[in-house]
């Protein structure tokens, strides 16, 4: 009899202990999250809600705001001269730049992760430099390199006997040119890949060696899964950054030629601050938000499940 009671008491104690532990965890969780929560509520979503409300008005920053329902959204989707061209250009740029930038960053990171390489510090710094050069300077530099007459790229193409391009001066080649420019500044994602690669346990790689596998096996079965968390991060951030691109078209092409590089962020800026159509610009921003939300969900659904974390979740 006493055994049963003892067991029963032990069971209750265990349950209490676990629920206490869970409470402990929840409290710790919320305490640690507190700064972020405050930021999210007061510095982010409060303002998001404001702009969402504005998107249903015809506010012009200093005028009165009259509620117009979905008129702004309807106008954007059906009547706006620039909207669809802009969305297409932005998507083209975003996907193009994610693919090229991530491939470039990963490739360079892998190369720099080689055990036998001397001068890693030097090379890592060098490859990071393009991403910290001020935008003003790098835009000027690239305009020079893109020049069809005397620029570096066409000069190189000519020497190799390849056809030259009009780069940012022609509608069809403008966005790919900007994609190339974004790949050049792959230093930041490269650094994150390096951090991820540093966490790949050498024991696993040696195990492949011992089992007789080659570099490709190592890459596919060990490296990629082990860095999948940062791969996931970089891809998602790359897509978001691609959609939010602004400076390159604002400084270099002014949205041209013939609006080929009129990205959505530039359109939003122009509608909000140059045409003073704040409600309209907010509606455009929220359309972009929806598009990105869908894309993010897709990435999380399909890619997110495949990510291998070290913890057993």
């Amino acid at each position: 009899m006493s055994n049963e009671i003892a067991n029963g008491v032990a069971a209750v104690r265990k349950r209490r202990h676990f629920s206490a532990m869970r409470r402990n965890e929840a409290v710790a969780g919320y305490l640690l999250m507190l700064p972020l929560l405050l930021g999210i509520v007061f510095l982010t979503y409060g303002q998001f809600v404001y702009s969402l409300i504005i998107s249903f008005t015809d506010q012009s920053v200093f005028g009165a705001a009259n509620f117009v329902g979905f008129q702004n959204y309807k106008k954007l989707l059906t009547e706006d001269f620039f909207f669809w061209k802009s969305i297409k250009a932005t998507m083209l740029y975003a996907f193009g730049s994610v693919i090229t930038t991530q491939l470039a960053a990963l490739a360079v990171a892998l190369l720099l992760n080689n055990r036998h390489l001397r001068g890693k510090t030097f090379f890592r710094t060098i490859f990071y430099i393009p991403s910290i050069v001020p935008a003003v300077a790098s835009c000027l530099l690239w305009m020079w390199m893109f020049n069809p007459d005397f620029g570096l790229f066409n000069a190189m193409l000519k020497t190799l006997g390849l056809p030259t391009s009009k780069w940012i001066y022609a509608e069809s080649s403008a966005v790919p040119s900007l994609v190339l420019m974004s790949a050049w500044a792959c230093g930041a994602p490269m650094v994150i890949y390096l951090s991820g690669l540093a966490n790949v346990p050498p024991s696993l790689l040696e195990a492949v060696d011992i089992d007789g596998g080659g570099a490709w096996t190592k890459f596919i079965h060990i490296t990629i899964p082990m860095i999948s968390p940062v791969l996931f991060y970089n891809t998602l951030m790359g897509v978001i950054a691609g959609f939010m691109t602004f400076t390159n078209s604002y400084v270099m092409t002014e949205g041209g030629p013939n609006n080929a590089t009129l990205f959505v962020n530039y359109l939003i800026y122009r509608d909000a601050f140059q045409y003073n159509e704040f409600g309209y610009a907010s509606a455009l921003a929220w359309i972009v938000f929806l598009v990105l939300a869908v894309l993010t969900l897709i990435i999380f659904r399909f890619f997110g499940k495949k990510v291998y974390y070290g913890d057993k979740d």
Partner: protein, 285 residues
């Protein structure tokens, strides 16, 4: 494979190593072109900069440009101001994003998924439309023309991207650490501070360096929130070299180059600490 065979395999890697070096050296030139171009432009006259075909060497090496650039430019004041923003913000960002990343990545609490979704959502609304309501918020609490907006943004999570990055990293560390520490009686917070932070040193330093670069080069924030010239930062001060109708590009290049150099040096020094992987101190494997 026997040890001898493994050694032979290592020796075979040589030719590919040479190709590797060749590629890296080519890449070095590609990446150093901007720095050289900034240098050569800063030493030319304004007209020379845009001449086609482009001149690789200035006709007259105008080192004087550097003197003239900083004549009207109170670099020391701007630098101090930049540091006043930068140092607290880097600390705040690293700290609060690590805290949030740890909570989102390793703890379970009700509503976690919602908060994570909100964090990601915070990144996908184009900033231009939030500029005004955010300014209104800060204006309401009387924080315009102060550095408070920067501090608040940094200390309240430090940006969704950093939180996300931290969360990814925190999730890669095995749970055994948490569990064994808890068995030893440590509280969650002690686990955070004493075990996970040292393990995450590489990613913490990464975030610190990225945050440094952000605040070092940021001119949008200071431009919108600051009014008094004596509170301006370096990045904003450099813009005073752009005129209404014409800019002195040689001075702009000179000032930009001077700003890039410390950033490059910081990275060169700092990267040893995080990429060398303090993580691999026998704890893994």
């Amino acid at each position: 494979m026997t040890r001898i065979e493994l050694r032979k395999k290592k020796k075979k890697i040589r030719p590919s190593l040479i190709i590797l070096y060749a590629f890296l050296i080519a890449g070095t030139f590609v990446c150093l072109v901007p720095l050289y171009w900034m240098l050569r432009s800063s030493l030319m006259s304004n007209a020379e900069i845009f001449v086609f075909p482009p001149r690789f060497f200035p006709n007259s090496w105008r080192w004087n440009n550097y003197v003239k650039t900083f004549q009207n430019f109170d670099a020391l004041m701007y630098f101090t101001n930049t540091m006043k923003i930068l140092v607290p913000c880097v600390i705040g960002t690293v700290l609060t994003s690590a805290m949030a990343g740890y909570a989102l990545g390793r703890l379970n609490f009700p509503g976690k998924k919602i908060w994570f979704a909100l964090t990601i959502g915070a990144m996908i609304l184009p900033g231009h439309v939030v500029l005004i309501p955010l300014y209104l918020t800060y204006s309401f609490i009387g924080a315009t023309n102060t550095y408070t907006p920067f501090y608040l943004a940094a200390w309240c999570g430090g940006g969704a991207a950093n939180v996300f990055l931290m969360r990814q990293f925190m999730r890669t560390l095995p749970r055994e650490y948490d569990e064994s520490a808890m068995i030893d009686g440590a509280s969650r917070l002690q686990i955070f501070l004493k075990i996970l932070i040292p393990l995450c040193a590489p990613i913490l330093i990464t975030v610190a360096i990225f945050t440094f670069m952000f605040y070092w080069n940021d001119f949008q924030g200071p431009l919108i929130y600051l009014r008094s010239d004596n509170k301006f930062t370096l990045a904003l001060g450099i813009l005073s070299l752009r005129g209404a109708y014409a800019s002195k590009w040689n001075y702009i290049m000179a000032a930009s180059l001077v700003m890039v150099v410390p950033a490059v040096l910081l990275f060169a020094v700092g990267q040893r600490y995080f990429i060398e992987g303090i993580v691999l101190t026998g704890v893994k494997g």
